[in-house]
Amino acid sequence: MSGESLNILLVEDNEDHAELIQRSFRENQIANKIYWVKDGEEALDYLFQRGVYADKADCLLPHLILLDLRLPKVDGIEVLKTIKTDDQLKSIPVVVLTSSESEKDIRKVYQYYANSYLVKPIDFQQFTRLMRDLGFYWLGWNKNPFR
């Protein structure tokens, strides 16, 4: 991977899943800074630097957002809608990472301009491979305007 420091915002309410994702990234040397928030409201607070993030200078805009859909307080679709309708945030790639395989969800997230829709695999090997490929693609091969 490149030596650039790339930031990921991980929006995930399940602590165990968040740990698995971060562990997969670490073990695949996708050495980037991952900032983990536990619900939709916190994600928006982080992105808009408000609430508990109002005074935090290290709240860098992420190069990639990994977004779960079923979230407490503000759900993933609302977070996506807010990001994609904000002039400053809408260029950030948003990868939906969820356990839902519902076609309705898939249709809806693309309707709100998600950049990708990934289903968390149950199998551990597949899970780690997906995280590795995801990191390589979005943070390696893919070019985005913040880099």
Partner: protein, 521 residues
């Protein structure tokens, strides 16, 4: 004097005129007479009429005599000689006796002659006119007879139509459907069957009333949903049947409606509506739709929420294998704990799903339940938790009783009180109050009020969702309030939440039936 008058009088007359003495002497003649006989007028003077005519002299004398004796014009016929030898002219004449003035001693005859040929033409024309008149008269008589027949026929048809109309209205009265007829221009009701009157609360015949005022509620003019424009074609003639479904604003019943423009007995194009009550079917459909939506939502939630712990379990199991290889026992121990927690969560979710499926129907018959007693029982069951939280709970005495599935409502109270304890936040002395209040509409609402962490208004609906938790780290699966809501709604009640915001406490209100409700199948 007489001669001068004659000249003056006959100058412009187109027929031959002669002034003749009793002896037959022609005293004067006009221009038309000279022209008829082809002789100079002067040559005719003083000649005897018998010399100028070929009619036998005795007939001429006799005719003149009759003229002199009669007070009325005397008709006759004379044949005159002309200056052309062998050419004679036939005339119809009228002789008038003229009384002479003082200088003339005897009466004279004014003879007015009209050529028979010309007169014949006039007669022919007259005859033709008469013939035409006769034909017209016959035609008129024919027409009159025809009209009389038509009128009789129409009267017969009208009679049959009236009979048929009466039979129709009798049949319509017997139908188990709303049937009415209204004028399409004036909206005036012209017929309502018995069923319509019974079901729309119309006590008289309803005829003559305005449809939108009588059949619907709170309309200030013709209904916006009126189908009249669809019932006639561009030329204003009746079109096909228009079928639609509508919930009547007067009695709130749903109807499957067939509308059609028809020609009424008086010839007017009217709107006829036949509406069958489909309220039961509609309600079943609505219930089914709601159940389907709930089921879809339930399946979605279950599949997602049950899948999550499996991902955790499989993920950390895989991690364990690699940790075993590297000998990272510390991480292994933590991962095993994660696996165990995920398995427990899965167990809890499955138990909750089972519980939720059990309350799909209320199984216990409704009985009177004192909310005060039910709340006190819940407090007894939660005694340990209350002590742990150091909470003070007050229950209003003698709250109005309800008619419910007692077991389920005890669960509701237990859940709400437990919830209040769980989200008491950093309160050193959590206070919980169970009570009742009368709402603006007179209904009694029960409440469970706490001084805990409170809730923002934007999350009011979300907290009742299945497996929804505002704090992912809090204990439980997030089924409690979904369960409570389901039980209350199955009783036909309502539940809602109010809070002044974070750390301002929360109040859950709910209503329940105050008397026995007969459940419809």
């Amino acid at each position: 004097m007489l001669r001068q008058c004659f000249d003056e009088f006959t100058r412009s007359v187109v027929h031959a005129c002669f002034l003749i003495s009793p002896g037959g002497i022609i005293l004067r003649s006009n221009a038309a007479a000279a022209q008829m006989l082809g002789q100079d007028g002067d040559l005719l003077a003083d000649r005897n009429i018998t010399q100028l005519t070929t009619t036998p002299a005795e007939m001429v004398v006799h005719y003149l005599k009759r003229c002199l004796q009669s007070r009325e014009p005397v008709p006759g016929a004379l044949r005159w000689r002309t200056d052309t030898p062998g050419h004679e002219v036939d005339c119809y004449c009228h002789g008038y006796r003229l009384l002479i003035s003082s200088d003339e001693q005897e009466p004279v005859v004014l003879l007015h002659c009209q050529l028979r040929e010309k007169a014949g033409n006039s007669f022919a024309a007259l005859n033709q006119t008469l013939e035409n008149l006769r034909l017209s008269h016959h035609k008129l008589i024919d027409k009159s007879n025809q009209l009389t027949a038509e009128i009789l026929e129409r009267e017969e048809v009208q009679k049959k139509l009236a009979e048929s109309h009466e039979r129709l209205t009798t049949v319509l009265d017997g139908l188990d459907a709303v049937v009415y007829v209204a004028d399409m221009q004036t909206y005036e009701l012209m017929f309502l069957n018995k069923y319509a009157k019974d079901n729309l609360g119309i006590t008289d015949s309803g005829v003559g009333k305005i449809c939108w005022q009588t059949l619907q509620k709170d309309q200030t003019g013709p209904c916006s949903f009126c189908t009249n424009p669809r019932l006639v074609d561009a030329a204003g003639n009746p079109a096909d049947v228009y079928r639609w479904e509508f919930q009547n604003t007067q009695n709130n019943c749903w109807y499957d409606i067939r509308d059609r423009a028809i020609r009424w007995i008086d010839g007017r194009i009217v709107r006829m509506e036949i509406a069958t009550d489909i309220t039961k079917r509609k309600k079943s459909e609505q219930v089914l739709e709601q159940k389907n939506a709930e089921l879809e939502n339930f399946t979605y939630t279950i599949s997602h929420d049950l899948k999550s712990p499996i991902i955790t379990i499989k993920g950390f199991l895989g991690s364990l294998v690699s940790d075993a290889g590297t000998g990272d026992f510390e991480r292994m121990e933590a991962d095993v704990k994660r696996i165990a927690r995920a398995a427990d969560k899965m167990q809890a979710l499955l138990d909750d799903v089972l519980e939720l499926s059990r309350i799909g129907r209320l199984v216990n018959p409704a009985a009177e339940l004192s909310i005060t007693e039910a709340a006190n029982e819940a407090i007894e069951d939660l005694a340990a938790f209350i002590k742990e939280k150091n909470a003070v709970i007050t229950v209003e005495a003698d709250m109005p009783p309800v008619f419910v599935d007692c077991h389920r409502i005890r669960e509701v109270l237990q859940n709400l009180i437990e919830n209040a304890l769980k989200y008491s936040g950093s309160q050193a002395e959590p206070r919980i109050e169970v009570g009742s209040k009368v709402l603006a509409d007179g209904q009694c609402a029960y409440y469970v009020k706490d001084n805990g962490i409170g809730i923002e208004a934007k999350f009011y609906d979300k907290i009742f969702g299945l497996f929804e938790k505002l704090d992912p780290r809090s204990a439980g699966t997030g089924i409690g309030l979904a369960l409570v809501k389901r039980i209350i709604e199955l009783h036909g009640g309502k539940i809602w939440v109010e809070s002044r915001g974070p750390d301002q406490g929360t109040t859950f209100y709910f209503t329940l039936p105050r008397q026995r409700i007969v459940q419809e199948d």
